[in-house]
């Protein structure tokens, strides 16, 4: 009887079998990479802000202490975003009529809040507390990146749970002397830049980390990894 299928279909059928497997595999990997991509996590994304505030200028060049603006970082879970008043303490004196700062002046004048785009937003079932982290020698830049070099502020980490756990499973990797917590230029110890703590010079994070985790009585890892440490 007549052929129903052209002989080429043999090839197609074979290909389709192996192809299916490959396609599925590729898709899976693609999805996972997408989840980690900065397009998705908004890592290193510059957001449109009412005022193009530059941490590089203020924290880096001028060397204003983080706490001058983020005043509740040591006392509260929330680091605090400076009220317009804080901006005006200086900008009532300098750049008093820079057009760039008009929104700030307006806000101060009409007592209306500036509406910043949130750069680091955690899901609301995550209860992150700034005060305890800075109190335990975790520096601003450990999470917020090289803030002093950011003309426009961007998200430094993925803010994924894995990103948090990375440190909660090995705090010694990021811990630094309390004196250095608010130093935006702090670099982990190395042979070229040893870090001094209580008279001793450390040339590698490993040994410093061990010392400090003990010194600052960092909670045991199983506590740091207990669900209720961050979720309630």
């Amino acid at each position: 009887m007549a052929q129903i299928f052209h002989r080429s279909t043999n090839l197609i059928s074979r290909l389709s079998i192996y192809g299916a497997v490959i396609i599925v595999a590729v898709l899976a990997f693609a999805l996972y990479d997408l989840a980690l991509s900065s397009w998705y996590t908004q890592q290193h994304m510059k957001l449109q802000q009412p005022v193009p505030f530059s941490h590089r200028h203020h924290a880096g060049e001028l060397g204003i202490d983080c706490r001058y603006c983020h005043s509740s970082v040591e006392t509260s879970s929330f680091a605090g975003v400076p009220p317009t008043q804080t901006c005006m303490t200086c900008h009532s004196q300098i750049w008093t009529n820079a057009s760039m700062l008009e929104p700030v002046r307006a806000s101060y004048r009409d007592n209306t809040s500036l509406e910043w785009q949130r750069v680091n937003a955690l899901p609301d079932f995550v209860y992150f507390d700034h005060s305890i982290h800075v109190a335990k020698g975790i520096g601003c830049t450990s999470c917020h990146g090289q803030i002093a070099e950011m003309p426009l502020t961007e998200r430094a980490g993925t803010l994924y749970m894995s990103w948090c756990l990375d440190c909660h499973r090995a705090p010694e990797k990021n811990i630094r002397p309390k004196s250095e917590v608010f130093n935006p230029f702090y670099a982990p110890p190395s042979n070229t830049h040893p870090v001094q703590f209580e008279g001793v010079y450390y040339t590698d994070q490993a040994s410093l980390g061990r010392r400090l985790t003990a010194e600052y009585k960092i909670q045991p890892l199983k506590t740091l990894q207990s669900c209720s440490t961050c979720h309630r």
């Binding site: 299928f5 059928s13 996972y32 989840a35 993925t158 749970m161 894995s162 990103w163």
Partner: protein, 456 residues
């Protein structure tokens, strides 16, 4: 059972069948018989029920599992009962096609095809429930071990995770087994199909089967391997399902008898369902000479056997409750026997224990109507058994302040009926478009029987 075939001279197929007639008879159902009004009617009803299921699922997604009667303490209700029931039904198919194949039980040949189909459809129905009964089904993938940026894995101590693997494996293997078995027959249909469409579709499905010696040996090998794979699954799947209960500490769940007793129960209800399906089908499609009374007889015996195992389960459970000396176990059993749901318990005893004993009588085994009736009764009985295990154990456990009654809502019933819709929807399609009896194997059978004739 292994000896069933031998000391019964009665043939497994009606007299006068040749390769030709067998092939004609079975393939014609698909190819020439066409779409009968009866089929359309049944299919329509099944379709309506399927749409009902559709409605329920939509509502479930919009509103939540609260539409069901579940509550604290009975946080599991119909959904889980139905899950266990359907998956139990599935077991017969695999048993017939896999274990009996390995045991060279020739009588299986004419029933294994639609038994397997039944398995697959039943597992589909069953598989839906674990998903639907979740509070947040859209997060089902949390139960799968996949790399994720939360650095979290499923909690492998939980039997629900084992279920995910057990059921999905079971479904995959059954599906493959079924399909592989279908290939030669699909080829037959391809060759006999009149319409171009038919030729192409069956052609694609038969994957270029030409019936060469190589094909045959591969075919044999494949089905043997799959049978080997499927056999442990028959036992493992329902064992794992039973773990869902035994792992817990609830009186009435926490029991070591469950695995064997669940497996037996599964096969019990499975065969009941096969009968429920086989009896009308052989009648409607005039297959009495392929699915002979002897088939029914054997299946009845299998039911009797598994039924007795189940009975043993009930007895040992009850005995242990009184013998074990645990206040809670004791109360649980008293509550089963005399509590607010006692009626259901005694009904289930009647359905699963007493009535099936009638199958000891050969006459009743040969009485098609009675057999059909029994099969229905056992199906119901096994559903009740699961209800008693799930709900009656939960509704009164340790702390009396939290005791409560469980009442199914109309949506509970709708969900259950809906799965029947899905099941029969698929089954009608199967009857219409695929050979419901394995042409190949029956032909082999014809061959054997003919040889028997020669020797005697």
């Amino acid at each position: 059972m292994a000896s069933v075939g031998s000391h019964k001279p009665e043939p497994l197929i009606g007299p006068g069948h040749t390769f030709e007639t067998v092939t004609d008879k079975i393939s014609s159902i698909v190819l020439t018989r066409g779409t009968t009004p009866g089929w359309v009617f049944g299919f329509f009803i099944a379709f309506c029920l399927l749409m009902l299921l559709n409605l329920v699922i939509t509502l479930l997604m919009i509103q939540g599992v609260g539409i069901w009667g579940i509550k604290i303490p009975t946080a599991w209700g119909f959904a889980i009962v139905n899950f266990v029931w359907w998956i139990g039904i599935g077991h017969a198919g695999t048993l017939i096609s896999a274990i009996l194949l390995l045991l060279h039980q020739t009588w299986r040949t004419s029933i294994n095809r639609f038994a397997e189909a039944m398995t697959i459809f039943a597992v589909m129905c069953a598989g839906m429930f674990p998903l639907l009964h979740m509070g947040r089904p859209w997060l089902f993938y949390y139960l799968m071990p996949y790399p994720n940026p939360m650095w979290l894995w499923p909690q492998f101590r939980s039997p629900l995770v084992w279920d995910v693997f057990a059921v999905s494996t079971y479904f995959t293997v059954s599906l493959l087994f079924w399909f592989v078995g279908l290939i030669p027959d699909l080829a037959t249909l391809r060759d006999r199909a009149k319409s171009k469409a038919g030729q192409i579709i069956y052609g694609m499905l038969s994957m270029g089967w030409r019936g060469s010696a190589v094909h045959w040996s591969r075919y044999e090998m494949a089905s043997l391997l799959l049978a080997g794979l499927a056999t442990p699954l028959v036992l493992s799947v329902h064992t794992v399902v039973s773990f869902d209960f035994t792992i817990a500490i609830i009186p009435g769940w926490h029991s070591t008898i469950f695995p064997p007793y669940f497996v037996a129960g599964a096969i019990y209800s499975g065969f009941a369902m096969v009968l429920t399906l086989a009896i009308p089908i052989r009648r409607i499609y005039h297959l009495e000479d392929l699915v002979t009374e002897r088939h029914l007889d054997i299946m009845a015996k299998v039911m009797l056997a598994t039924g007795l195992i189940v009975a043993y389960g009930y007895i040992s459970e009850t005995f242990m409750a009184f013998y074990g000396g645990s206040e809670y176990e004791y109360y649980m059993m008293m509550n089963r026997l005399a509590g607010p749901y006692a009626r259901l318990y005694w009904l289930l005893i009647f359905c699963n224990l007493l009535l099936p004993q009638s199958l000891w009588s050969r006459r009743l085994r040969r009485n098609i109507l009675w057999l059909f009736f029994i099969s229905l009764v056992v199906n119901m009985g096994m559903w009740l058994e699961r209800f008693v295990i799930v709900v009656v154990s939960l509704h009164r456990d340790f702390v009396p302040s939290s005791w409560a009654m469980y009442y199914p809502t109309r949506w509970d019933w709708a969900t259950y009926l809906g799965t029947f819709g899905l099941f029969f929807f698929l089954f009608y399609l199967f009857l219409r478009f695929l050979p419901m009896i394995s042409i190949v194997e029956v032909r082999a059978l014809v061959h054997e029987t003919n040889e028997e004739k020669v020797h005697t």
